[in-house]
């Protein structure tokens, strides 16, 4: 007995669709919070339509056939948008694999008397869907990677706040690892702010930097040198004991750089550079008076 699979599937589209939707609805991974029923219906319908239009008796055995290009496109679109919406890979996978279950279910009902043919078809369908699954996961990961990239650049931007602590004094707390692209951002932000506020002292606080190796030290030295070229003084503060240890052990020369252990002492030093004086008023309120 010869069966035209593609025709059979097309004829049974309605059953497949209902069974697929049902599969998705009963699935415990269904995310009703992320996707509405209508939307899911629409997406499922579009995918099934395209799949049934591209499938033929010959290409069912060739998952890499170019005729499935449009199916792949839809899958890629879906999984990218799902990755961005925050679906887990399992949930995204369930979407495509539940369609496989639906198709196999229909085939079982339609071909009750020919186990050999059924087996053969199931194998082909399985292969086809494995392929679709791989495409889905690939794109899903890609989508996630894009999210990560975007977040990285956001972090770089927001993690370099330049604070104006006093008239003429800027502070820049650095948190996290200092690599060369980060240094560039830090340097640019700092120098720009120096020009805008015409501040003459900048304090780089590195208490939030987990480790200082020779490369990081190099970056710090560069930043200080650039600040000096602009005509401002740069103080590095927040040097923890373990960082002081590594710096000395590595033989890094920071002697040309003004370093202070805490932001407070750097600030105190800045005041003295600007000839400012901090003192208590008689009412026991701290106040700062220009010297």
């Amino acid at each position: 007995m010869k069966v035209d699979v593609s025709k059979l599937l097309r004829k049974k589209k309605k059953e497949i669709f209902e069974s697929w939707l049902n599969n998705q609805l009963v699935d415990e991974t269904l995310r009703e919070d992320l996707i509405s029923n209508e939307e899911m219906r629409e997406q499922s319908n579009a995918l099934l339509d395209t799949l049934l239009n591209s499938i033929s008796n010959t290409n069912i055995a060739e998952p890499s056939s170019p005729e499935f290009e449009s199916v792949n496109e839809i899958l890629q679109g879906l999984s990218i948008s799902r990755a961005r919406q925050g679906f887990s890979p399992r949930e995204t996978g369930a979407f495509i694999y539940s369609l496989k279950d639906a198709i196999i279910h229909v085939l079982q009902l339609e071909i009750p008397n020919d186990p050999v043919l059924l087996y053969e078809l199931m194998l082909k369908i399985s292969r086809l869907f494995d392929r679709f699954g791989v495409v889905t996961f690939e794109t899903f990961i890609q989508g996630r990677e894009e999210v990560i990239l975007r977040q990285t650049s956001e972090i770089t931007e927001i993690s370099t706040p330049v604070i104006r602590v006093w008239d003429g004094i800027l502070a820049l707390p650095i948190i996290g690892t200092l690599d060369s692209s980060r240094t560039q951002v830090v340097m640019e932000a700092l120098l720009q702010e120096i020009v805008e506020t015409s501040s003459s002292i900048a304090i780089l606080d590195i208490s939030g930097v987990p480790a200082v190796d020779s490369l990081v030290a190099q970056h710090l030295i560069k930043t200080v040198a650039a600040t000096r070229l602009m005509g401002a003084e740069c103080i590095i503060s927040g040097i923890r004991p373990e960082i002081a240890q590594t710096i000395v052990h590595l033989g890094i020369d920071l002697s040309k750089i003004m370093t202070k252990s805490s932001l407070a002492s750097a600030l105190k030093y800045s005041f003295s550079l600007l000839q400012l004086e901090v003192r208590k008023t008689q009412k026991e309120k701290t106040n700062i008076i220009h010297g």
Binding site: E188, L229, G231
Partner: protein
């Protein structure tokens, strides 16, 4: 031939570079400035480079030369208004402009020169004293 104008302000000479210099112009500036320092007996030279978008090693060397030459002739040089991008590039290039002081803008540069020269005069006074 084009020349960069040099203004005289009391004890100081003021130069504002407003175009990207080609080499000849920069070399001329160097010799003109040194001449002016000797002619006027200026005690300070202020060079405003806020309009310069590029300072390469040649220009950096000219600035350094001016600083060192003026120093020999007892004048302080201060370079003001360097753009952040220029500063970052110079550091990356490996040039630190030794021999010249820097300040953020003309005002701070002036203040710096006045202080520096004021101090020298005071120091000279001290030497005259009993100490």
């Amino acid at each position: 031939m084009d020349r960069i104008p040099i203004l005289r302000m009391g004890q100081f000479l003021l130069v504002t570079i407003q175009i990207d210099l080609y080499d000849r112009l920069a070399v001329n500036l160097e010799s003109d400035l040194v001449q002016m320092v000797s002619k006027t007996g200026a005690r300070g030279v202020l060079i405003d480079i806020s309009a310069l978008t590029i300072v390469d090693s040649f220009m950096g060397r000219i600035l350094g030369n001016i600083g060192n030459m003026s120093k020999i002739m007892d004048a302080e040089t201060v370079v003001v208004g360097m753009q952040p991008a220029v500063a970052i590039t110079l550091i990356e290039l490996g040039l630190e402009l030794q021999g010249v002081s820097t300040a953020l803008n003309v005002e701070k540069g002036m203040l710096y020169l006045q202080e520096k020269i004021g101090n020298q005069i005071e120091a000279a006074d001290d030497e005259d004293g009993v100490e």
